[in-house]
Amino acid sequence: MKNQDSVIELKIQSSLEYTELVENITNNLTLMAGCDSDQAYFIEMAVREVVVNAIRHGNQMDLDKIVRVQYRFNSERFEVEVLDQGNGFDFEHLPDPCNPENLMKSSGRGIFLVRSFMDDFSLAYIPNQGTEVKFTKKLSRP
């Protein structure tokens, strides 16, 4: 694959019924990028977790609000940006789901998993826009 970035942008309404569509598109793009099966699996997982968070917690399932997903990839890296239109949240103090007091909670692991399996991860609140999550998977080649 040529080393120029490929860029694809997707906008969806804030409904969980679109998560499968996003997954399918993500899988097509990781295939285009030449990801191996593990890379593709974890990128799909990361996109899914972040998009579900954006729909549920960011946009509060408000169908008038949009989640924007931008993919940018080349032969060396696969980057994803997800922007919601919510009011942000206190992401500086996200509880650690591995702490004993949180271990048996039924939620709170999504961002942790994305951080664990991606190579770079950032979260920012952009005033008057929403929360932007960016992550990158490096595509090491044998």
């Binding site: 699996y41 997982m45 977790e49 579900v52 591995c98 271990l103 048996m104 909670k105 039924s106 942790f112």
Partner: protein, 114 residues
Amino acid sequence: MSMTATTRKIEEVSIVDLGGRITIGEGTAVLKEAVRSLLNKRETKILLNLGDVSYIDSSGIGELVSSFTTAGKQGGKLKLLNLTKKVHDLLSITKLLAVFEVFDDEAKAIRSFS
């Protein structure tokens, strides 16, 4: 692929053969219903066979934890069988392998309930 759950019983152990994807929505609902319906019938020795589970997200992991807790509160035990490598990795990184009893041999898992 949608989620499936089929229950069979060996000795006093209810084995739930799960297949597909345990993800937010239908997947977690199927798992929740399968476990709750067993507990409602006082079937409290539950072995979840995850061998055909291709994918689990954070909500699916949460539902496993919730099912484990619910079974425990009713005096039951919920254990896991046949984790795929991916599911094993996810439970490992979330420190939940220390919570669940995990088996890769069904007969051994069944014996562990007695």
